[in-house]
Symmetry: C2
Subunit: 394 residues, 2 copies
Amino acid sequence: MYSLSDKFAGMKPSATREILKVTSEPGMIAFAGGSPAIEAFPAEEVTKLSNEILTENAVSALVYGVSEGYEPLRKTVKEWLKRRENVGTDDDTVIITAGGTQVMDIATRILTSEGDTIICEEPSFVGSLNCFRSHGLRLAGVPIDADGMNIEKLEETIKANPNAKFIYTIPNFQNPGGTTLSLEKRKAMYKLALENDLVIVEDNPYGNLRVAGEDVPAIKSFDTEGIVIYAGSFSKILAPGIRVAYAVVPSKMAGAFTIGKQVSDVHTGVLNQMIVSRWFDEYDVDAHIERIKLIYRKKLNLMCDCLDRYCPQIEYVRPEGGLFIWAKLPKKVDMLSYVKELIKYKVAVVPGSSFMTDDTAPCDYIRLNFSTPSEENIEKGVEIMGEVLKKFGE
Amino acid sequence: MYSLSDKFAGMKPSATREILKVTSEPGMIAFAGGSPAIEAFPAEEVTKLSNEILTENAVSALVYGVSEGYEPLRKTVKEWLKRRENVGTDDDTVIITAGGTQVMDIATRILTSEGDTIICEEPSFVGSLNCFRSHGLRLAGVPIDADGMNIEKLEETIKANPNAKFIYTIPNFQNPGGTTLSLEKRKAMYKLALENDLVIVEDNPYGNLRVAGEDVPAIKSFDTEGIVIYAGSFSKILAPGIRVAYAVVPSKMAGAFTIGKQVSDVHTGVLNQMIVSRWFDEYDVDAHIERIKLIYRKKLNLMCDCLDRYCPQIEYVRPEGGLFIWAKLPKKVDMLSYVKELIKYKVAVVPGSSFMTDDTAPCDYIRLNFSTPSEENIEKGVEIMGEVLKKFGE
């Protein structure tokens, strides 16, 4: 009998996505998801745009596209990123992908070989970690402080891993940590990458969802040497089901990145790309982002206030944006038992161990999502969390 | 400075897709594409379906989906394949992918490691070959006869490549060969795979486009042992820009395949999948296929007749379906010079060498696509091909 590749033989489905299956059960309060707020989707706009595109010229949305992406969208994204975040130079190439995870996947394909190492924050987004694992890579985690990756530990980790190929970072409202990498640390990380022949993969799906504090410049915005692949997405500001994201790729990697896209899925759906392109043409995307931030601000503050009220034993750093709160349980409470108990009370959260490079090591954290549940359910769910804590002697 | 992975350092963009860029120049007669006939797209139906879906419940098309695919579409495809092709058992899982190439990519990810070998037809589809190459795999090509892969050579190739992991075959109207694998050979291939612990990846994007002769049962239809991954696509019968295809995966590989999809791009666009699902609900897809076959039959016969008339020196096996004719040039004619000369006369064809496991070896073939050009351009283009042949002393 045939056997699976060693790379896959030990892999499990993402715990988050497995728990998501539970969260769709009737009556479940879902703090486990990673979905943006449904009420923030520009659903009417998408309907209008899609109808226009197809009614005017359906064939244009049905033919094969090019692997780099729909040209008008690439141009629009390039200009928008430059204006909004000072990201991208004339030398960089914008390539459209089918969601943000595909940027990590293609970057991994073009930069690594089996047995190489990726340096990442610990904890980090399980979807990306699983992507790296599926390529037979080792993960070297660097702990995070309240202002992001610990730079001393990063330096040690780089020294200890001569076969590391890139640093993977989520600089804004990190998933799951909620932390934002300070400008000083961004510069230090860039310097270390440059000195050690490392690429940085800067994954920024949440950057537009800042609800407090000041924007911090992207690492890509000072990438004079062309060593940063920047990933952004329309999943959080438009909608995730449409699967449109983008990579800003330095010229030396752009050819390989395009081939990586070509051999993955040829190109991203054309109608999907045209809808996003036309969204920029007919609407004010920046104004839309300002509007949806109000939704996120309210939900984030509500969940934090509820945690303070119902679960004062739980420690967390209040994030300045994004979708997640990284909550530390009291020492007495066994994390996995607590998560399982919560499911009995119809509250779903993600075990923090899912986000660790070694997901079997002890972990006191859980990840809470505040964007998906209603305000009513945020209050109700956190109250239940507090009651269940009491059952654990807290 | 960082360096690209060895897997990508030597890779070039697909020659076909590079030539496609030339074909979009004004006035170019495009025999180089791989697009289905645009006049066969159900464009009005897609417009109506998409409008209905979004108008009734846009949010349902905008939320995250599950990695396996949109459940109603998976169910419909499973029933349709069983009825139409006797493909798929209760033990098999249907997984929706973003186009057919992604099936090859995920199969490769879960079954192989760098340095392994894939056994394929020689010539074969350059998109799949490049996908395999991008994973650091070796290609072992087996020549094709008029009735598909040469089975004696397949047996020799299996013996010579103990680290081969799967056989990749396009059984119907092979790309670019145009040949169809006989039932006897399908059975022989299956037996050899079983005896040698090999998986078969059966890539069948063109099977529905048969315009002459009788259907041959899919290898998957007699896969009692669960060793065949079957790939089908809506690119050729609906439209390619929508990027919806499917894999029928034996139960033992289904978990890994789902993870492979998850780490690639999380899931296929939801609206895209809903459009296809609803297409089955509201229209008679089998009747649509019968209608579009008429378009393909006419174009295929026209191109063959024109070749016989204007280029009698060119040899080819008349395909019974699909999109391509694999044309052998007379000995005197240098293939690459001929292709370049044709471009000067505004006719684009693909050099046959693109489809070879070693694309630098001598090759007398070109690939002609008859589905994209108009009938007028088929006649005009083949006439030019004949005139340019004369310039080469033919």
